[in-house]
């Protein structure tokens, strides 16, 4: 079976500094991939690069191939021009943005904004047909149909995020990219929106790329997860395996920093240091300066390679059978 989306060696640079530095991944039809990492690690940039929506100051390269259902030939996104991308956007890939507050035009009614997107990609020109489509979508995402006649500011944050999801579905895409879709919402709304995404994915056979810094959110929703650090994927694999048995020190420390419900009280250990400046990345492994297990080998760039079934990590010492205590390892590393 061929995958829906294949990305290889995706690079985004800003005046020569790498923001995204050689990202490869595959996504199957109907699969949910989680993209995790600290702020500024290149998650959102990767998402925007997939739709070629980066601001002009950023340049991107690499190949991206999309094979949507029913398309005779694969779509080579990397080679598409702006006009060509306009046909792909929303028709095949749509986007749910972070910050539902500002994702809709504040001075236009919601149904007008949805009708605009629907008319762009289909022959449905009739007002009735479009209207029926909009009310169907509103029912699907659990909103009253009357909300379509409203302006964005008249809805709550959760309702607006539902509108965004309805908007993302209005051209029956095969892939939805959700960039921090729940960040601006309270916990109850978060759970509802995630459940909605999950349900839609199952019923519509959507593929989903879910971007979040919240590992809990990704763990609940995704099949596979990719951990990004400083513009690179450092570990990827099935969610369960990565969470239960991480194979990259960054993943390991990230998971350790999560508080455990019912566990010992106290502050979770933070990862010391800060992500590198993309203008002058460290030599070799990007995580080396912050890694308690770093050794001389780490001055050479570690490739992302399969270390367990379906699980890959970019670390010279993977697979890790047992994780030494990070503090002891760091102390030993300093002495050596």
């Amino acid at each position: 079976m061929t995958s829906l989306l294949e990305v290889s060696d995706l690079r985004v640079t800003h005046r020569g500094s790498p923001i995204v530095d050689g990202v490869d991944f595959k996504l199957d039809r109907g699969e949910a991939l989680g993209l995790a990492g600290e702020s500024g690690c290149g998650k959102t940039t990767t998402a925007l690069a997939l739709m070629k929506l980066l601001p002009p100051a950023l340049t991107q390269s690499g190949s991206m191939t999309l094979r949507p259902e029913g398309a005779e030939e694969p779509i080579n996104l990397g080679r598409r021009t702006e006009a060509g991308m306009q046909l792909v956007r929303w028709r095949h890939i749509s986007l749910v943005f972070q910050g539902a507050m500002n994702s809709l035009d504040p001075v236009q009614r919601i149904d007008a904004q949805m009708a605009e997107a629907i008319r762009l990609h289909s022959d449905q020109k009739g007002g009735k047909e479009v209207g029926r489509k909009i009310s169907d979508l509103f029912k699907t995402v659990g909103l009253p149909v009357s909300a379509a006649r409203r302006y964005p500011h008249e809805l709550s944050g959760g309702q607006r995020q539902r509108v965004m999801i309805a908007l993302a579905l209005c051209c029956d895409p095969s892939l939805v990219i959700a960039d921090e879709p729940t960040t601006a919402l309270d916990v109850v709304m978060q759970a509802q929106v995630l459940q909605l995404l999950e349900r839609l994915r199952e019923s519509l056979g959507l593929a989903l790329i879910l971007i979040s810094h919240d590992l809990g959110v990704l763990g609940e929703t995704c099949d596979r997860i990719a951990i990004m650090y400083a513009g690179r994927i450092v570990e990827t694999g099935p969610v369960r395996s990565v969470f239960d048995d991480p194979q990259h020190p960054y993943t390991k420390l990230l998971l350790d920093s999560l508080p455990v419900i019912g566990g010992e009280r106290g502050l979770a250990p933070p990862i010391p240091g800060a992500p590198p400046d993309p203008g002058s990345p460290p030599e070799g492994c990007r995580f080396r300066p912050r890694c308690p297990y770093a050794k001389d080998e780490c001055l050479a760039d570690p490739p992302l390679r399969e270390v367990a079934k379906g699980q890959s990590a970019a670390c010279h010492f993977a697979p890790w059978k047992k994780w030494p205590d990070p503090r002891a390892a760091a102390a030993a590393g300093k002495k050596a």
């Binding site: 306009q86 956007r89 943005f97 504040p106 001075v107 236009q108 500011h153 008249e154 908007l167």
Partner: protein, 323 residues
């Protein structure tokens, strides 16, 4: 809801107007006794002076006499008599107002349209040569005094290349055969002052529109609209411009009110018989009743324009209704 909102705004406008009327009365009392300028006439006798005072009602007590008379007269549109022309101030204003509205209306309209259009162009080409060029041009016209621009226009288009009249609103002493030729004649006279007016206002509209567009273009919904596959020019025209227009509407309505009074220099330079020139002459002649009248009209213009801006905003921005 919207009716109450409008009623509230209108009530606030009326209160402001009443304040202006009261303030206007005391402003001219503070300036001193208007009859003192007649004392410069040699050989004036104290009896004649006293007669003058009683003619103008200046012998009455300030609050119970003069102020009450003033409020009553103002309410019935009697703004007194011009000391220079001996005509009613209200008639003078009525004759001048249409000319000012014509000049200011055309100038504001052109400046708004051209300024915002150039602002959109500059914002979408931010940092490029065309943006820098437009920015330089608009800062120049914004900084240059409008009377200087007016003089340069007269010099070039009425003197060096004499294709346009240097002043007045129409050719004097001509019997027009039809209204078409009359309108054409007025239009010819309007070109230069309206150009000066447009150049004077253009820079502000350009700068406001440009910065407003630059702000809007960084909003998330612009990226979302692009993500839906909407071509860039339609993202700009359908979503960015309507949002960016909001601050411009306020500016242009408020400016319209302010510029009714601010056209003084341009009207003087082009001998345009509007309120500005009327004001200029009244100042020269110390014609207090006329000044008091035009001040009232200028204030009423600003207040009315603000009310208009509120109404426009209400119509353009659905969020205003919620508040």
């Amino acid at each position: 809801m919207s009716g109450r909102w409008l009623a509230g705004k209108a009530a606030a406008a009326v209160v402001t107007l009443v304040f202006v009327i009261v303030f206007n009365f005391f402003l001219f009392r503070v300036m001193g006794d208007p009859t003192t300028q007649f004392t410069r006439i040699p050989n004036i006798t104290p009896t004649e002076l006293a007669d003058l005072r009683s003619d103008y009602g200046l012998d009455k007590p300030l609050l119970t006499g003069q102020f009450v008379d003033y409020i009553g007269d103002t309410a019935s549109f009697d703004l007194g008599t011009s000391q220079r022309s001996r005509r009613a101030v209200w008639t003078e204003i009525k004759d001048a107002l249409p000319w000012t509205l014509l000049l200011v209306g055309v100038g504001t309209l052109l400046a708004t349209l051209i300024g915002s259009w150039l602002g959109v162009i500059a914002a979408t080409r931010r940092g490029r040569n065309s943006d820098n060029g437009l920015l330089g041009f608009s800062l120049f016209t914004y900084a240059a005094p409008e009377y200087w621009i007016g003089i340069i226009l007269i010099l070039v288009f009425a003197f060096w290349i004499p294709i346009l009249p240097a002043g007045l609103q129409m050719t004097p002493g001509v019997e027009f055969s039809s209204w078409v030729s009359e309108v054409t004649d007025v239009a010819e006279h309007l070109i230069l002052p309206a150009t000066a007016m447009t150049l004077m206002l253009l820079g502000q509209y350009f700068l406001i529109m440009r910065s407003s567009m630059v702000d809007v273009l960084t909003e998330d919904f612009i990226t979302v609209k692009r993500a839906t596959g909407l071509p860039w020019d339609r993202v700009v025209s359908r979503h960015a411009v309507p949002n960016a227009l909001l601050p411009l509407v306020t500016l242009s309505a408020i400016q319209f009110g302010a510029v009714v009074g601010g056209a003084i220099t341009i009207e003087t330079i082009f001998s345009w018989p509007g309120l500005g020139e009327l004001t200029f002459q009244a100042i020269n002649d110390k014609d207090f009743p006329v000044l008091q009248g035009v001040f009232l009209v200028f204030s009423a213009g600003v207040i009315f324009a603000n009310l208009l801006a509120d109404c426009l905003y209400f119509y353009l921005d659905p969020r205003v209704k919620a508040d």
